[in-house]
Symmetry: D2
Subunit: 97 residues, 4 copies
């Protein structure tokens, strides 16, 4: 069952709503630039989008660890190590972005 | 003319294209979650979006400094100081996001 | 034995070396400012220190997950959830810093 | 006079104090690891150091813009553009770190 594999299926509607809102915010930035709005206000909006995306990323990560990492920990230390190394690399990419 | 004040008007088509692409990437993340794709791949995509947004923000900032901050520097030290303090605060928000 | 609890004891000498180097880099920034070196060079050095600290943080996090989170996963789902929520909050703080 | 060129000479004592404190915090992290303190607490401390360094970097940047960028704006548009491109690159490195 794919639903239980990745651990976030029960929250799909909530994620979809959040990402729709973020998509609207990106469209808003595009409109602000077309209307030649004040640059600092555009930057503030971009910061808000990045924050919202980081927050979505953190929640996905938490559910990933709860499902995939914990499952791997029950399987074998090697499986856990592989999943944890993979998650850490993803965290590193998020931190740099 | 407001278009020349903020200094990015000649680049509006390029910004619009970049933001359209980012909007498509956000929609892609939403679709990945609905299709229950692997969490780490979703996180990688979110990192890519944040990077793209930071890059748009940096370019806006550079043009803002070139136009507004430089103009304020020609006006008065006080005007420059106010613009620079405002830009620094915006940079601080970008860095935390 | 507390040493095995947190999972990083075997690496203490390596961490100590890395943090000594970072400490030296912070001292270097202080010296650069006292010598009135060029601001952009100081900023480049500060970025390098932040990167080095993030890298130490990521490695600590990886070991923490490998030891504490995996141990909690063997204990109970509730224990795992608590550890994972705690780790996610720490990741969120790192990302904002 | 080099002291006035980079614009932060009057604040050298304050910067030195802040960097001494940061140096002490890095030493504190090293000690926490040697004492095998709880990993999450070490990460919290690392986040605090990064925040403090970012804050020093932002203040340096603000002074740099007030002095060097504003001076370049009075010199020529080309000089201003070069300084602003340089500052933007430094901001990009800070944001990624």
């Amino acid at each position: 069952m794919t639903e239980t594999t990745h651990g976030y299926s029960s929250d799909i509607p909530a994620y979809t709503r959040r990402l729709n809102r973020i998509e609207g915010q990106v469209r808003g930035v595009s409109r602000m630039i077309q209307e030649d709005q004040y640059c600092i206000d555009v930057l503030t909006q971009i910061s808000a989008i990045n924050k919202a995306l980081h927050s979505v990323g953190l929640q996905l990560l938490e559910q990933h660890m709860h499902h995939c990492v914990a499952a791997a920990a029950h399987e074998s230390p090697e499986a856990a190590q592989a999943k944890i190394a993979e998650a850490t690399a993803a965290i590193g990419r998020l931190m740099k972005s």
